[in-house]
Amino acid sequence: MRHGKYPFILAFLLPPVGIYAIYMLSPYIQALYISMTDWSGLSASQTFIGFDNYVEMWHDDQLRTALRNNAILVLVVPILTLMLGLFFASMLNVGGRRRGAAVTGVRGSSIYQVVYFFPLVVSAPIIGIVFSYVFAPENAGGILNRMLGAVGLDSLQRLWLAEQSMLIWIVVVVMTWSFVGFYVVLFSAAMQSIPKDIYEAALLDGANRFTTFRKVTVPLVWDTVQVGWVYMAIQAMDAFATVHIMLGINGGVEGAGDVLGVMMYREAFASNDFGYAAAIGVLMLVLTMAVAMLFMRGLKRERVELA
């Protein structure tokens, strides 16, 4: 067995490590340097300018808009998704009440789990395109306005994608819509591992469903919530495909729906300012790490152990 061990290890590691180093590691390392140059990307000239790009970011109003929008996404999307995900998962797994079997899921649980999950396998561009027509004006197939009109809520109709203040909230809605099913499935898996007699005991003690949810279900799946929350915050930070498709490369009307990812892409490939784009990328990295750490800290709680 010892014979030929190292040539074998080398032969097996070379392709994955090589590809990974060339296409993933080296770009990340280069990005840090490029962010400190004034490189346009077109010319060979590349001057080291230190932190000038970062200073420029500080004074960039559009970057402030993008940052605000990213902050909204990172705070609101995870909260909405978690609330809906926990609620639906507990309905599906322990929400049913029947004589004899105290704790089951509601009827049709298995179908709901399949249906809810579906948006997750659909690509973000497809979701973006479909929703840009949901929110479109009535004469371009906008079904939301059409539905509002049909139920007599004409006063709520508007040109959704033309109103600056609406743009980021539409992105929030679309992202939440596409995330929820995943967390329903994730939390369901966690809830299925909770022993049923805990629920039966709670039931006998006269706890209603809300109390059971608050005092039994949530504490026992909290580990999963914590992991999901961080993961989702990182995902929500991105939002690139949704914004790029629904609002365009300029981030919608007057750039009001801009996010960091789209801004970075625009600076790099439309404005040919690669140095500045890389600096935005570094900012995104720092923010993602910070958000992940903050979220992990903020949610730390006494672990509940099952005796």
Partner: protein, 311 residues
């Protein structure tokens, strides 16, 4: 549980459970709550499915029908929408591009990922831990930071003699390599854990039978890792098929666009040409492969994707 409980023997001789006593969880109030909850579930089910269903229904309408009656059912089935999307809107070409790139990237990801993970999991050598953590680090880095330099890496590789044409921008192979690089961290991580769980007695038996390192991997270990490989293969398939931002950078040439990217361009142009139903037909064409994969492997897809979070 409710009937087996032991009542303490008190002064009263009545020890059986009173049937009319209020049973928590089963009453008129509870039934109302159940009804309400069921309503919410159904409502969310509708919110989830209707937009997609609407897109599918719209793909069978005429453009006139779509504009005047977006919510209605189509008068007939306009198969011509699909023909227009496939040919005129170039969706056929994009579909082919996606198939080519994904089949290359998926094969390489699974093969190279399994090779790396196998060696990292079952062989002891200097640098083992270091390489493992190097891959793990890739799990937390955002794609965006790499985007700009990656463009130059690929462009510069394109100017290499002879092999440059396969490695430059607008090449299927280089896009596939980029997909592989970005899928490796999770693939290696997941499969390393998987290979560690395989029993060493089987490997030892193989060695006694005179297997070389290579045959041991391909004939014994890889077949044993099949369940893990399937979950992960589905996970990577969906990720590669739905990829949007990486091809946006690498495939700048119109004819080389992949499906998701091509649909994005089509959506941006449709506003001017008002051929909405061809756009929706294109969406349905893009949706079909994932729909089929999801329906066939629904359990594994959910398992694979949720495993991605609970790492």
């Amino acid at each position: 549980m409710t009937t087996t409980q032991i009542e303490p023997a008190g002064p009263s001789s009545d020890v059986h459970v009173d049937e009319n006593r209020h049973q928590p969880g089963v009453g008129a109030g509870e039934r109302a709550v159940s009804f309400l909850n069921g309503g919410f579930l159904l409502l969310w089910g509708m919110i989830t499915t209707l937009p997609l269903l609407w897109a599918i229904v719209s793909s069978f309408k005429t453009n006139g029908e779509f504009r005047t009656d977006p919510m209605g059912l189509p008068g007939g089935l306009e198969w011509d929408n699909f023909a227009r999307a496939w040919n005129a809107a170039n969706i056929g070409q994009y579909f082919l591009n996606s198939v080519i790139v994904v089949s290359m990237s998926l094969t390489m990801t699974m093969l190279f990922g399994a090779m790396g993970a196998y060696v990292l999991a079952r062989y002891d050598f200097p640098g083992n831990r270091f390489i493992y953590y190097l891959f793990l680090g890739g799990l937390v880095l955002p794609v965006f930071l790499a985007l700009v330099p990656m463009f130059f890496v690929v462009r510069n590789l394109g100017s290499l003699p002879v092999i440059g044409q396969f490695l430059g921008l607008n090449s299927y192979f280089s896009l596939a390599l980029v997909y592989v690089a970005f899928s490796l961290p999770f693939t290696v991580f997941f499969l390393t854990a998987f290979f560690r769980t395989l029993p060493s007695s089987v490997a030892e038996a193989g060695i006694v039978d005179g297997c070389s390192h290579f045959t041991l991997f391909f004939r014994v270990m890889l077949p044993m890792a099949r369940p893990g490989m399937i979950s992960l293969g589905l996970f990577n398939f969906l990720g590669h098929w739905n990829q949007y931002v990486l091809p946006l950078v690498i495939m700048q040439d119109g004819d080389k666009r992949v499906l998701a990217q091509g649909l994005g361009t089509l959506a941006a142009n449709t506003g001017f040409r008002a051929d909405y139903t061809a756009l929706f037909a294109g969406l349905v064409i893009a949706l079909l492969p994932v729909l089929i994969v999801y329906i066939l492997f629904q359990k594994q897809v959910q398992a694979g994707l949720t495993a991605g979070v609970l790492k």
